[in-house]
Amino acid sequence: MDLPTVWFCIIALLWLGYLFLEGFDFGVGMLLPVLGRRETERRVLINTIGPVWDGNEVWLIVAGGAMFASFPGWYAGLLSTAYLPFTVLLLVLIGRGVAFEYRGKVDTDRWRRAWDTVIVLASWVAPLMVGLVLSATVFGLPLDANGDRVGGPLVILTLPNVLGAVAVAAFSLLHGAAFLALKTQGDVRERAHRFALRFGIPLLLPVVGLLLVAQLREGAPWTWIPLLIALLTGLAALARQAVGRDGQAFVLQGVALAGVVVTLFGALWPNVLPSTLDPAWSLSIAETASSPYTLTVVTWVAAFGTPAVLVYQGWTYWVFRKRIGTKHIPPVHAA
């Protein structure tokens, strides 16, 4: 494999890491009013991701930085073409991050309700935007020869892209429920468990739809393999959830997500951002890749940096491995 292809795979991996880690973060936020009926329960939900959400979000930043370094044309083309979705994504991520940190800092219901609104809204909107732009890079955008958008800011809202947006949001919701079933105890866990089982199949449907559209429109014969793996492990996850094996269910969902990401990026290859106007204007791996020297430099950085990240980020999850229940939540200690 040549270096540009390696980096195409690394970018896919970074997005996989992001979708896996922040996927359940988003899900927890989406489920805040659903599973957290009392204030203490809502704090249980938030504290399952309290120590880790920020580290999870860095996967997005690094995915962006890595795209800039290894495929400047992809980074520039996708971000400027999907300008408004990215703007919305940034705005809700700003609100969401601050909300987690500030919510507990003043002890009034009004203050908490306000930040809860931000958390819930942002946790719904962010995965929709992520899904929209990721689908757009797979299905393509109306690009001219320079890689600039032809048409208005909303040309991104095609049916497949909207399906992708819904799929990422649906997956996040299910993933969040599985995570909460694994990380909480008591009533919250019970509710998360029930939610995952009751809505598991309906929530997987848009993901399956996205996979099939991607496969039939852009897929290669080999991408049927990850697609089938995604389907089977997705169903297996629900089956394990049904018998109360929360850990296995959560891991299987991760495998299913990996299948989805491999299918989508496999369908995208060898392009990075197709033009829907003229295939000659599509941005490809070969055309947008940085020079071999630059790729070599970032490869070394990634080769040493990424394993270290995985080790210490994994260690955080180990440190905070205990399930959380309402009895663990300390009294409010605000300014």
């Binding site: 309290g50 795209m67 290894s70 990215f86 700003i94 600039d148 990240v309 955080t316 009895k327």
Partner: protein
């Protein structure tokens, strides 16, 4: 913006894409850099305080760690979320720039993410939530990990910025810069000068911040007639620590700034001539302390200024006799070297085919430079004064001291802001500045007008500008509100509630079941 509006003279100026994009970058970046220096400086100070607690076991240092750590966390969150915008807005609003420089500029950004951001976020999470989950030693190591990572992050992003000021480590292939030595980019002399200057700036901010709030607390307690108890000693101690840190930082800032200035006279002479409103070449050149009249007039005839003879020659070249080139001469040299007109490219919008104005906005550079130094000097004086008036546990009783202490917090922030506005506006009309005296690679440059995203509509750009500015505005109010609350609350609001049988002082709440800290 300056050259644009001047060029159009009396005509109605259409606010175009480039202007909106520049305002957006300016607002979001200046705003981000309100949070960043406080985070960097305060994180290191807090790690230092925690080290003192770890070493001595003295509860005083635990209180300091907890209180300043809390304010740092309130600020850290804002730095993180506004930083995400920074990572993405190059591609969104400056896609032509991203395409042109991507082979060079992306690498330090990716390194910053992999090396610094992950460490920052993961270990900050461990630090906040890990008081009773980790041993004291490991917990302290987490504090050092995330605070040093913020410094590393500053290094990488300054490497990227320094390359825009002074491109090195590249060769031109098919009209685009290709990275040929990452080592050259990471040891760019512009970077080696900018990095210490920026880090001293961070400590100046954090030191003055600690000084201002702690002094206000002592002043308030004394005026309310509260006893000279342990808590007062802790505030007093904090204040003195802050003042010393600030004072040392200003010495560092002056020295590193002088080095940086001399370098800039070589690398971007037009920026420095504009900083001095030095219209005509002088030998020896005198330094303008203050000007009245319109410094923006290109002929400079209406500018009257108070000057120090020989001083500018010294600032630029380290002696009292060497010639310093003025704006007029340099404009001619730049035009001869880099062309007189923009290419006739429709993507340049109104600037296509127009004459290039090489002189940056003079009032902005001239006053930006003076405000940077001026506000820095004022806060240095504040630190010096604080040390003198509070020696040996004293604190003056006057009515104005408290408000004065709080007001001093603003000065290093303003100095930082004006410094960056100066250095970025002074680089115009270039986004990547060429090197007339090349210790970098000559022939690598890009005009700001060419850098903006050509596929984005002004309406979109305006939408994001308004949305981001509004959200940033609201959040600034919220952040200050929270900081004021915590400052009012003092140690009470940050120290863990003592449970009956817990005397370990580890910050843990004693019971194994209840989390020591939870959102």
């Amino acid at each position: 913006m300056s050259c644009n509006s001047r060029r159009l003279g009396g005509r109605l100026v259409r606010v175009d894409l480039l202007d909106i994009a520049r305002w957006q970058f300016g607002i979001t970046t200046v705003y981000h850099f309100l949070m960043v220096p406080l985070t960097i400086g305060l994180a290191i100070l807090v790690a230092g305080m925690q080290t003192a607690w770890y070493r001595t076991g003295n509860e005083r240092y635990l209180k300091m760690t907890k209180f300043w750590g809390k304010l740092m966390m309130v600020n850290f969150a804002m730095g993180v979320v506004t930083g995400i915008v920074q990572e993405f807005q190059f591609g969104m609003a400056w896609s032509e720039y991203s395409r042109f420089v991507g082979d060079v500029f992306g690498a330090p950004l990716a390194m910053e993410g992999i090396v610094a951001f992950f460490v920052e976020s993961v270990f900050l999470g461990l630090w906040i939530f890990g008081w009773d989950r980790l041993s004291k030693r490991v917990h302290l190591a987490c504090a050092w990990a995330f605070s040093l990572a913020t410094v590393a992050s500053a290094y990488f992003i300054l490497a990227a910025n320094s390359w825009m000021q002074h491109p090195v480590g590249v060769e031109m292939v098919d009209g685009e810069p290709r990275l040929s030595s990452i080592w050259a980019v990471l040891t760019n002399n512009t970077l080696l000068a900018a990095f210490p200057h920026t880090i001293f700036g961070c400590f100046a901010v954090a030191g003055t911040f600690v000084l201002g709030i702690a002094a206000w607390k002592v002043w308030k307690r004394d005026r309310q007639g509260m006893p000279h108890d342990e808590d007062r000693r802790v505030w007093h101690k904090s204040m003195r620590v802050g003042a010393w840190v600030a004072l040392f930082s200003f010495v560092g800032l002056a020295i590193s700034g002088d080095i940086q200035g001399k370098l800039m006279f070589e690398q971007q002479p037009l920026k420095m001539a504009s900083a001095e409103a030095l219209c005509h070449t002088e030998q020896p050149a005198s330094f303008s302390v203050f000007a009245y009249g319109d410094v923006s007039r290109p002929d400079c005839e209406s500018v009257k200024s108070i000057t120090v003879p020989f001083m500018l020659s010294y600032l630029a070249h380290g002696d009292f006799s060497t010639e310093v080139k003025g704006v007029q001469q340099l404009r001619g040299e730049y035009a001869a070297k880099y062309g007189t007109h923009y290419p006739n490219d429709p993507r340049l919008g109104e600037l296509a085919g127009e004459r290039i104005e090489y002189q940056p906005n003079l009032p902005v550079t001239y006053w930006g430079f003076r405000f940077m130094i001026g506000f820095g000097a004022v806060s240095a004086l504040a630190a010096l004064g604080a040390l003198w008036f509070t020696r040996g546990g004293r604190f003056p009783r006057g009515r104005l001291w408290g408000p004065l202490a709080l007001a001093s917090i603003a000065t290093p922030f303003l100095a930082n802001v004006f410094g960056w506005i100066f250095t970025e506006m002074g680089r115009q009309p270039f986004v990547v500045a060429p090197n007339p005296n090349p210790s970098g690679v000559d022939g690598v440059w890009m005009y700001t007008a060419q850098a903006v995203s050509s596929g984005v509509s002004p309406g979109e750009m305006m939408t994001s500008l308004i949305a981001l500015t509004s959200v940033y505005g609201v959040l600034l109010v919220v952040e200050v509100f929270l900081m004021v609350r915590y400052a009012r609350g003092g140690f009470e609001s940050v120290m863990p509630h003592k449970s009956s049988d817990d005397d370990s002082g580890s910050g843990g709440s004693g019971s194994d079941d209840v989390l020591s800290f939870a959102y």
